[in-house]
Amino acid sequence: MNLENFLILSGVIFSIGLYGALTKKHVITVLMCVELMFNAVNIAAVAMSRYIVPRSMAADPSALDTAVAIAISEGSELGETALSTLLTGQIFAVFVITVAAAEIALGLALVMAMYRNREIVDVTKINLMKG
């Protein structure tokens, strides 16, 4: 279990989702595949935030007497800030989940509106605005 494993897993799930989103006819399946892609991105973001070292901490490979390391050992403001930047990837995942929730609510509302007015759930037949 290392970063490469997580990134490859995320890439595989993203590709499966992309394939489904490009090829499926049923509009709800397309939305589900888009959700799969969101999930893959979340896995990548969280794995990055767990494994990758921020530049401030990696300034010196012998690490333990850099300014950041001293700040952390003193428990000062700078040290706390440096440690909290480790979780930026998780913050990104929170925002991705929020946007996914908004997207699925609106997307399914569109599906229901379309089904109610024209009885269509096939994306290849949604061509009312075709010139």
Binding site: G11, T23, K24, M32, L36, V53, P61, T98, A113
Partner: protein, 185 residues
């Protein structure tokens, strides 16, 4: 270490299997159930990555809310649920997706990721835990209890995106209501 590896690879296998299930299932309802399984396994992966808060959010929002919405939508468009066919872009999509997957795998394997072990810090999952330095202790503390730090980050450093996200959600709710309102004739 071995336990973590075992957990990771079994979860990865189930996750990929469930994702394939979403794409290949003929019955849209079953595809949605596979999607729920894949969401649950991703929550397990978040626990492996020390992101407990995200794991709970994943279960609440994806497994709890989004899949319920999807299943409702499938049931409300019920007579067409057995029509999960492909359109005519199947072959080009195969090629495109294979290219993208190759690129992703190549980049993630060949990039020299700068991770903790390169700094000599023993903070990764499964590392041994004796004689910790201050930095190692700090990083371990961050990843052993992430929720208060996420709260601090969200309401301090990321407060503007946070408010923008609430406006986005409000707009989405209003939009969905407007779309689904009964039209007066």
């Amino acid at each position: 270490m071995l336990t973590l590896d075992l957990a990771f690879f079994s979860m990865a296998a189930v996750c990929i299997g469930a994702s394939v299930g979403v794409v290949v299932m003929q019955d849209v309802f079953r595809a949605a159930l596979f999607l729920v399984l894949s969401f649950l396994v991703v929550a397990g992966l978040f626990v492996l990555l020390n992101a407990e808060f995200l794991a709970v959010v994943q279960v609440l929002i994806y497994v709890g809310a989004i899949s319920i919405l999807i299943i409702f939508a499938i049931m409300l468009t019920r007579e067409l649920q057995y029509s999960n066919e492909s359109n005519r872009f199947k072959q080009p999509a195969y090629v495109l997706v294979a290219l993208i997957l190759t690129a992703i795998v190549f980049v993630s394997v060949s990039t020299d990721w700068r991770d903790w072990s390169e700094l000599g810090l023993r903070v990764l999952p499964g590392d041994n835990i004796e004689n910790l330095s201050a930095t190692e202790q700090g990083v371990r503390d961050v990843f052993s209890d992430t929720t208060p730090i996420i709260a601090k980050l969200l309401l301090r450093d990321f407060v503007l995106p946070f408010e923008a996200a609430s406006i986005l959600l409000l707009a989405a709710v209003i939009g969905a209501l407007v779309l689904l309102r009964e039209q007066e004739r």
